[in-house]
Symmetry: C2
């Protein structure tokens, strides 16, 4: 049986009885902010790697899958996404992918902890390379309050790119927040939220579907993708739409997109919404 | 930073700089066979769990994904799979899924290490529940030699369910073995082989595609699925077909199948063949 020495970072998923480790070269940051503890490591094989409150957040090597799948499916489903809000998303990888879309006219990112973004600028500069885009506004504050105050029918897409539904992000996984988002969305608008592991957390997915439907969205769908550094290596995002079915992929737009993706394609878009039998059953109403 | 105590089994993926752990309740078996070291653990959350030469092999909780995806895609692509061979597959989970197909008339399983099967019968009885089916023949011997000796055009499907391409299974990832399989297949016959992680091992996938094409197969395709206990949590299988394109899903057969699946559906079948942009590029000829 192998033993991990001090050259490894390990996240124990106590509820799941599993753990994931990356081999580190050195610790670059260990900082307690008013909100959470942030660590940044240099790994041997995954580039720089950020950890918040002991939970893996982002590695340079494989974050592209998560960030592409949190953004392009919803942006290429909306007919004309002009005004986008990101709640959380402090590493700015989601922001970068949104800003690649020329049809987007404004993106407001509301991250509670400015230090996440400042450390990302320093240690994940590639994720922050579009932060100076004139269409982007970075706000450091409470996303729940921001959404309460948002003008009615002023947004097309809300991307909820938060930590897990325990701790500071808990309120982002609740019906009142979904209702505030619904009010702020224009007809046909969508929210998308990271929704944990299909294998380990079907109960969270089920509760999220239920809360989104109860909040008044017309349709709720989950898509899934691999995510090596998150529990089980398999992750999901859940989309809810105001007044319409989640359909209408702008395939010509995907084919002609003026930027490269490493994971997302039109075929991946369709395939990601296909759920395995056990998850279909878990989510059946 | 968390530390794993003696209550955890850890597999270090030294080449990848990552590690995966399961929390164990007790060790049930630790046995050196003529071929390899086999350990079986009782875990806290994943049921019984087999390890060979330090590498995670099978857990009771999530092996269904692997075993369904190694069998049903190829069996529902073949128009009439009558004669099937499994090379490796000692835990018998693949054998069970093959035997669920009434159209299959014979399955020969050639596993080099009888102890894998005997321990599976003891600790994974659910995987072995169809071992007494009259259509099944269990041979304990060398799959490479068996395939050399196989009658020409006598098989419809060969499932290569082996350990990684280092150590005893190395010869199963080589052009000469693929040529022997090709000779033993009837026209339209297929081989399917586990083909490692899309994220960590695209070079292995690339080499496998090349070797299968060089061996003379008409078409080679990779499908992918989540596999929590294998490196990166994301795994693949690669199919090669004799004389025909890999196409022709028997969708009516899937819909009317006389058994339940927990992962596989006709939609999952199609979705699994959709590869992300980076892997398409890696596999482009």
């Amino acid at each position: 049986m192998s033993t991990l020495d001090a050259n490894w970072f390990t996240e124990i998923h106590a509820d799941a009885g599993s753990a994931f480790s990356l081999r580190i070269r050195k610790k670059l940051v260990d900082e307690q902010t008013p909100y959470q503890r942030i660590e940044v490591f240099e790994t041997t094989d995954f580039g720089n790697f950020m950890v918040i409150d002991g939970c893996t957040m982002v590695s340079a090597r494989e974050n592209f899958i998560y960030h592409e799948m949190m953004t392009h499916p919803v942006l290429y489903t909306h007919a004309a996404p002009k005004n986008v809000v990101i709640v959380g998303g402090g590493d700015c990888g989601t922001l970068r992918e949104v800003l690649r879309h020329p049809e987007v006219e404004s993106v407001v990112q509301v991250e509670i902890d400015e230090r996440v973004t400042r450390l990302a600028e320093q240690y994940f500069p590639e994720l922050c390379e579009l932060n100076d885009d004139s269409r982007a506004t970075l706000i450091f504050g409470d996303g729940i309050q921001w959404m309460k105050d948002a003008a009615r029918e002023s947004l097309d897409v809300v991307i909820i790119d938060s930590t897990d539904p325990i701790g500071p992000a808990e309120g982002l996984f609740s019906q009142p927040f979904y209702e505030d988002c619904l009010r702020a969305l224009r007809p046909g608008g969508m929210i998308v939220q990271q929704s944990e592991s299909p294998l380990l957390h079907p109960h969270i997915l089920r509760a999220m579907h239920s809360a989104m439907r109860s909040a008044g969205y017309a349709d709720v769908k989950t898509l899934q993708f691999p995510q090596m550094i998150y529990p089980s290596g398999w992750w999901s995002a859940t989309i809810a739409r105001k007044g319409e079915k989640i359909a209408g992929l702008r395939e010509a737009g995907v084919v002609a997109k003026p930027f490269e993706t490493r994971y997302y394609t039109a075929d991946i878009h369709r395939a990601a919404f296909v759920l395995p039998a056990f998850l279909q059953q878990a989510l059946a109403q």
